[in-house]
């Protein structure tokens, strides 16, 4: 053992020495990863950002280069003299474009300092022309890339050669990818890389997850014994809540939190540099606008950062945070990850924390140095968020953290990947089938399913006769699948990826500066001359043409703020349960619950407090209808599933129209006509028996599948690509909503694999059947506490204010239209 240790010390001496010249000491976990890499191992490193994970993962390839005395041709010379396309050694995959530039910088530093003649290029949507050229011609040694851009590279035939000399693949922020379809797409890309360069090593970098073993297995399906290396132990954590002044009535619902503006400003002024995290882009715009109105410092010291802003504006804000010229950045999750900002003193969370791991990650953005305590200041936007903060603190103290489960058998993603590979190297059916089955996501792919996917991309669907004149992927005489049509190839490349967005319209100044993009649905409601709020400015729309909105700065006044679809993230069920526990006692030692005590007293006086032993149900009559409120505390998705199920069961018993809505705590079913209510009825509605059959019945009735189909249609290539500012002329004939396409498939090809997938996703991802079942089992154990408050209670008020998410009715359609019209009259009159 000792001799081996000595040998390995010699192994990484070059890097250990270089660390010393920088005044650093290599951490144990860093050296462990280097040595494992040098021994040819793959693995997963979990450690918080800012702990030195980049050098942990990059050190191995650096040492390897030093050992081999790499002599790479200087870039300029190579154009003519080196026709080889196999210079690429290290592929660094990062989930966020915003991270790429920073990663390039932190990789270039040791390369230059150690004198390794490597060229680093960025290959993302934001990359420069020089970087794109280097990476597409294979003349970079290290490429930093997003999963989508990697897949895009695979759509070019040259990619086979470019990737053939690959030594190392590093997947940064793997925890951000494992639980979604982007991760599934990446699994497929990685399977291809394993084929193109069988001997490369793959390392994942992840924050701590509740299911690390699974995270390793999904990333490294070929190395089930791959190492899991743990980095530095999590830092101590402190959470502070900015309590609203006692004398002010604090809202029971809402999402902005601007009542707290003054106290946030005071805290901001005490700190040198801060990040204010919000949950949505519109919230970020509004907070930026509000802060700007009262900002006592130079205006340029306040910045905005979110995913719809132009890359230039985003990097300005990041740069400002790095060099300290910006005092405060209002940001969304676009700043959650990676980029190190050692200068940041203070982090705020506006509104709900949503999850335990998310709050931890955000808190880690302040004083981003190993060993220092993470601290976050939470700013509630409505009263119950106080309970969420108290719950999050308790969960973090107990070291509880959410798992992220990987999706499987996403046939839409597989169909997209199939077209991509046909477009690139081309494929033979049997070979690609075997290749994709090596991934975790498709290990259970049956030959029948594979046949369906092939039929879909080659002939349109399983019944050839239903798809005359269809043309996309074509099978050659030699059994090779390819894409011969250039127009189809271009459109496919434009739509690679899995992130759904509405038609995005580019926003540009008349003189040319780009600001970013907003959804078409928002801009189509504006007329020239109308004002709106975007990129931290009040803008006047001058004209809208070719998917670009030309704007100028408005002279005065305020404008409406765009809303971006998607992304109302549910509270994690772990945090939800903890909230229920925290609320079950009126008095608690935490400042948050002390503040909430009067509200909880009202809840108890008119109804009851939630409690783990009994299920609170409220039946409330108001002028506009009767409301059944149920509080499972299982997160929005699960609560919505329970609402859909209970509505359907109820509709079997009586004739009425049932509208339902859900939030993170509970759900509401509203009926417009009076109907009897009893504990036995509630028990029947929430029974765990016949759950699957009943859910299936209500998925057929409801709109859930149709809505879920939006993402599937986009990923599988059933919707034309939409790009900010670029709408190819020919695409205009191809406009159709995913809902219409869903209707067409259902009517004329009802067995379509993507319709089945929509239903499966509704069950697994959206309704989370497993968790609905667990929740109902739990109800069966609990006593049902049915109360009939005379007014809306603190818990029911936010539900009442929610937008209806679904509806089913066995009433006559005409009656309903008449009633809806009547209500509209009442409201306006």
């Amino acid at each position: 053992m000792t001799s081996r240790k000595k040998a390995s010390r010699a192994n990484d001496a070059a890097l250990v020495d270089w660390f010393a010249t920088q005044g650093w000491t290599a951490a144990t976990f860093q050296r462990e990863v280097w040595q494992r890499y040098l021994r040819g191992e793959s693995g997963l490193l979990h450690t918080p950002t800012g702990s030195g994970k980049t050098l942990a993962a990059f050190g191995g390839p650096l040492l390897e280069a030093l050992r081999e005395g790499v002599a790479s041709a200087p870039i300029k010379k190579s154009r003519k003299s080196s026709p080889s396309n196999t210079q690429l050694r290290v592929l660094w995959i990062t989930p966020l474009r915003a991270l790429a530039a920073d990663t390039v910088r932190s990789l270039q530093f040791p390369i230059a300092s150690l004198g390794i003649p490597w060229a680093v290029a960025m290959r993302t949507g934001d990359a420069s022309a020089r970087d794109r050229r280097l990476s597409t011609q294979g003349r970079a040694d290290v490429v930093v890339i997003t999963p989508e851009s990697l897949e895009l590279m695979l759509s070019y035939p040259e990619s086979s050669e470019i990737f053939s000399g690959l030594r190392a693949v590093i997947v940064d922020e793997w925890h951000e990818l494992i639980g979604n379809k982007r991760g599934v797409l990446l699994q497929l890309s990685l399977a291809r890389l394993r084929k193109l360069s069988p001997s490369h090593r793959c390392w994942g970098l992840s924050a701590t997850l509740g299911n690390l073993d699974e995270a390793r297995d999904v990333l490294l399906p070929a190395h089930s014994s791959g190492a899991i290396v743990s980095g530095v132990t999590p830092r101590s954590f402190s959470l502070e809540t900015l309590l609203p002044p006692e004398d002010r009535r604090f809202p029971w619902a809402g999402h902005l939190g601007l009542t707290q503006l003054q106290s946030v400003l005071e805290r901001l002024s005490q700190a040198r540099t801060s990040i204010v995290f919000t949950n949505t882009r519109s919230q970020a715009e509004l907070w930026h606008q509000a802060l700007a109105a009262v900002w006592p410092h130079a205006p340029e010291t306040l910045a905005l950062h979110h995913g719809s802003l132009d890359a230039g504006l985003r990097s300005q804000a990041e740069q400002g945070l790095c060099d300290g010229s910006v005092r405060c950045v209002v940001a969304t999750s676009s700043l959650d990850l990676g980029v190190d900002f050692p200068a940041v003193d203070l982090v705020f969370q506006i509104g709900s924390p949503k999850g335990i791991s998310r709050l931890l990650q955000r808190s880690g953005r302040a004083k981003h140095r190993p060993g220092e305590a993470g601290h976050i200041v939470c700013v509630p936007s409505h009263a119950f968020e106080l309970a969420e903060y108290a719950a999050a603190r308790r969960a973090i103290e107990r070291g509880e953290i959410e798992p992220r489960h990987p999706p499987t058998l996403c046939l839409d993603v597989l169909a997209q990947h199939g077209v991509t590979i046909a477009l690139g190297a081309g494929f033979k059916s049997e070979e690609l089938f075997e290749e994709v089955r090596t991934t975790h996501a498709f290990s259970a792919l049956s030959e029948t399913m594979w046949r369906q996917v092939l039929d879909f991309i080659v002939q349109g669907g399983s019944a050839l006769s239903s798809y005359p004149e269809y043309c996309k992927v074509v099978r050659d005489d030699d059994g090779m699948y390819r894409v011969p049509d250039r127009g189809i190839a271009t459109r496919h490349r434009l739509s690679i990826g899995t992130i759904t967005s509405d038609s995005a319209v580019g926003v540009k100044f008349m003189k040319g500066g780009r600001l970013g993009s907003v959804e078409e649905a928002f801009l189509s409601r504006l007329r020239p001359g109308d004002r709106f709020q975007f990129a931290g400015r009040t803008l006047t729309l001058v004209r809208l043409e070719n998917m670009t909105a030309y704007v100028r700065i408005a002279k005065s006044g305020q404008g409406s703020v765009p809303r971006w679809q998607g992304g109302r993230m549910p509270l994690s069920s772990e945090l939800g349960k903890e909230v229920e526990r925290v609320m079950s006692t009126e008095n608690s030692a935490t400042p948050e619950m002390t503040f909430l005590a009067p509200l909880m007293r009202i809840q108890r006086k008119f109804s009851a407090l939630p409690n783990a032993d009994q299920l609170l149900v409220e039946w409330i009559h108001r002028r506009d209808g009767w409301y059944l409120m149920i509080y499972p505390f299982a997160g929005r998705a699960v609560n919505e599933g329970i609402a859909a199920l209970a509505s359907m069961r109820w509709s079997r018993e009586i004739t009425n129209t049932f509208s339902y809505a859900a939030n993170d705590y509970g759900c509401v079913i509203a009926v417009p006509r009076e109907t009897p209510m009893s504990m036995e009825l509630v028990q029947r509605l929430l029974s765990p028996d016949r759950l699957l059959d009943d859910l299936l019945a209500c998925v057929n009735v409801g709109e859930l599948s149709r809505r879920q189909f939006r993402e599937i249609a986009r990923v599988a290539g059933l919707l034309p690509p939409s790009l900010p500012g670029r709408q190819p002329r020919k695409v205009r004939h191809l406009q159709a909503s995913s809902g219409l396409i869903f209707d067409v498939l259902q009517r004329f090809d009802p067995d379509h694999m993507l319709l089945n997938q929509a239903q499966r996703e509704v069950f697994e991802a959206q309704l989370d059947v497993r968790q609905v079942a667990e929740t109902l089992q739990d109800f069966a154990r609990r006593r049902i506490h049915l109360l009939t408050p005379e007014m809306l209670t603190p818990l029911s008020f936010p539900l009442w204010a929610e937008r209806w998410r679904g509806e089913l009715s066995n009433e006559d359609w005409k009656t309903r239209v008449a009633r809806a019209a009547e209500q509209l009259d009442k409201r306006s009159g």
Binding site: F456, I457, G460, G461, A463, S466, Y467, P468, E469, Y470, C471, K472, D485, G487, I488, R491, H492, T657, S659, E703, G717, L718, L719, P720, K730, H733, L734, Q735, A736, S737, G739, L740, I741, D743, V744, L745, R747, F748, D749, H752, W804, G806, E807, W813, K814, R816, V817, A818, R819, A820, A821, Q823, L824
Partner: protein, 198 residues
Amino acid sequence: MHLLADRALFWPRERALLIADLHLGKADTFRSAGIALPSGGTRYDLRRLSAMLETTSATRLIVLGDLLHSSAIERSWRDAWEPWQSSHADLNIDVVAGNHDRALHALDLDISIHDGEIELAPFALRHAPKPTRLAHIVCGHLHPVVRMPGIARRWPVFVMNEGLTILPAFSAFTGGFDISATNGRLAVCNGKNIALWG
């Protein structure tokens, strides 16, 4: 003029059925662009049309523009259209050419094509609306739809104003342009029923 629940007008005096925006062959256009939509939509729309011709005993069909979806000529929609037209041999078909109908003249479909509008007092039948006119304009083009609170989806709607009536798009595979009750008197329909809105 009678409003029919499956997105058409019937004019007893002329024994004419009026529809707008049939968009024949829309799915064909998608398929040849590599977007896998099944066929059947054209036949489905034509069946709906047959059903209304039968119940109204109309002898004339007036299409207010956008009979076709794409300008590309000869697609599989003709396999549905030709048998349909021969099974309605006595039907006179007038089409006001719409913005999607550039290829219409070249197709030789045994229909009367009108560029601009058809004047049938007191109405002027057009594809797109036009603001100031003496005759009452009946047109299509906009694909009006309406959202109603508490009722999912968007529903096709007739928009009726002083001097202007806009028909919903006839084809089931068409999107829509959101209209609110401030745009005029609205009649919303779902294929079986029709109801006034707002």
